[in-house]
């Protein structure tokens, strides 16, 4: 009896996500994006969401579809501007979407801090730039740092490769990206994998996200999404 629930459908996996939630969504561009969970979230209907993700959607699939459905109030990301991010662009320019841009490594570290119980950290990235304006700074040694705070999610939606019935996860190549840190940083962690395997079939030395971080797991068919450019 694992604490991790292995569910049959993406719809069950996203059940109960509340309006106004902060939702962490894994992926770098399309790699590692939990398409099926996002589609299920659109069906589920939660609105006024704050989305934390590296990008702000491509074309009209995945995160872009969620934006297009009008469910998102704010996006916290490092790089919203992509060749095919027209859904985000339109909503942003129309003033329908708030945006917080965070340097990519700071975004990852703030998520890690939330998962690791760190209250705040002094970070050298962005010092002296517009993204550090108004933030507390401190000189430590010969370097100036800016104080950064954790970003925690109510929910994380994560795309991984395989999971066992205890919730242990492995990822695949650069689709790993934000999944492991986001899995540590949300109260409820929902993961889609291509395959749920029996417990004991993953190499304990190669588990990337231990099952302790995974609340809900669902297998979905692998999807060969299209690779985009920057």
């Amino acid at each position: 009896m694992s604490r991790t629930l292995v569910l049959d459908t993406a719809d069950e996996a996203v059940a109960g996500i509340e309006d106004g939630s902060t939702v962490l969504i894994s992926g770098f561009g399309l790699a590692g994006m939990p398409f099926d969970l996002i589609d299920a979230l659109i069906r589920q209907g939660a609105k006024d969401l704050t989305i934390v993700s590296n990008n702000a959607g491509n074309g009209e699939i995945g995160l872009a579809a969620l934006l297009k459905a009008g469910r998102v109030r704010k996006v916290i990301c490092s790089f919203p501007r992509q060749a095919d991010s027209y859904v985000f662009d339109g909503l942003y320019r129309a003033g329908k979407l708030a945006l917080e841009v965070v340097p990519q490594g700071t975004l990852a570290e703030r998520l890690r801090a939330a998962g690791a119980g760190i209250g705040a950290f002094f970070c050298p990235t962005g010092v002296g730039t517009p993204l550090a304006e108004g933030k507390e700074t401190r000189v430590l040694g010969d370097r100036t740092y800016v104080l950064e705070y954790p970003i925690a999610g109510d929910v994380a939606l994560i795309g991984a490769f395989k999971g066992d019935t205890l919730g242990n996860l492995v990822y695949r190549k650069t689709a790993r990206n934000f999944g492991p840190v986001m899995a540590t940083a949300a109260r409820t962690v929902v993961v889609q994998v291509n395959e749920v395997v029996p417990t004991g079939s993953l190499d304990p030395e190669a588990v990337i996200t231990p099952g302790i971080y995974v609340d809900r797991l669902v297998a979905v068919p692998a999807r060969r999404y299209i690779v985009e450019g920057a």
Partner: protein, 230 residues
Amino acid sequence: MAVNNSSPKDHSATIEHTGRGPLTADELAALIARNIPAGSYVNLGIGQPTRVADHLHPSSGIVLHTENGMLGMGPAAAGGQVDPDLINAGKLPVTELPGAAYFHHADSFAMMRGGHLDVCVLGAFQVSVTGDLANWHTGERDAIPAVGGAMDLAIGAKDVYVMMTLFTKDGAPKVVPACTYPLTGVRCVTRIYTDLAVLDVTPHGLVARETFGASIAELQARLNITMDTP
């Protein structure tokens, strides 16, 4: 293992098992094991708390964490099972269960500090009525200080159970108005399991859940502490 339930005073209040003696260490370990919710992720401290593992049923799905980098720790290793690379926090050889995962120390303590463990069970020298814990140092001036992971465990788990005798061999109370030994953590203990009583630490003070071989009245008098009933 036979807890005498013959003289419960009140079903909704403290259960006083006065018709029996205090719990043995083994009975106490079994009681704790029974009270840990199925599917929990649990860290058992060095010493007495390790005994709790002997009473966990595999069907409970409880997963053991050892802070030196493992989830899914199995029972002590014996004979040919002994592997010097596979030890617990007490540096004793243990085994690996299916679904285990290894990780490095920073990740292991991020898991702990980040509040992902459901329960940890720790020994103690003293616990205060507000849940302060003293378990790492007796305050003797010539003692070699050694904290290990005690402070991390104390502040990390969602529930911090202490497992100890209620009195020292010399009869001094170990539940005290304020700790006189150096602290391990402040307001961190949520429940105190002892041979004579199980006490919850609540915002309103100590609440006696069960007593063994003694009445609440006797214990309050011996401890010179007021306890509430559930």
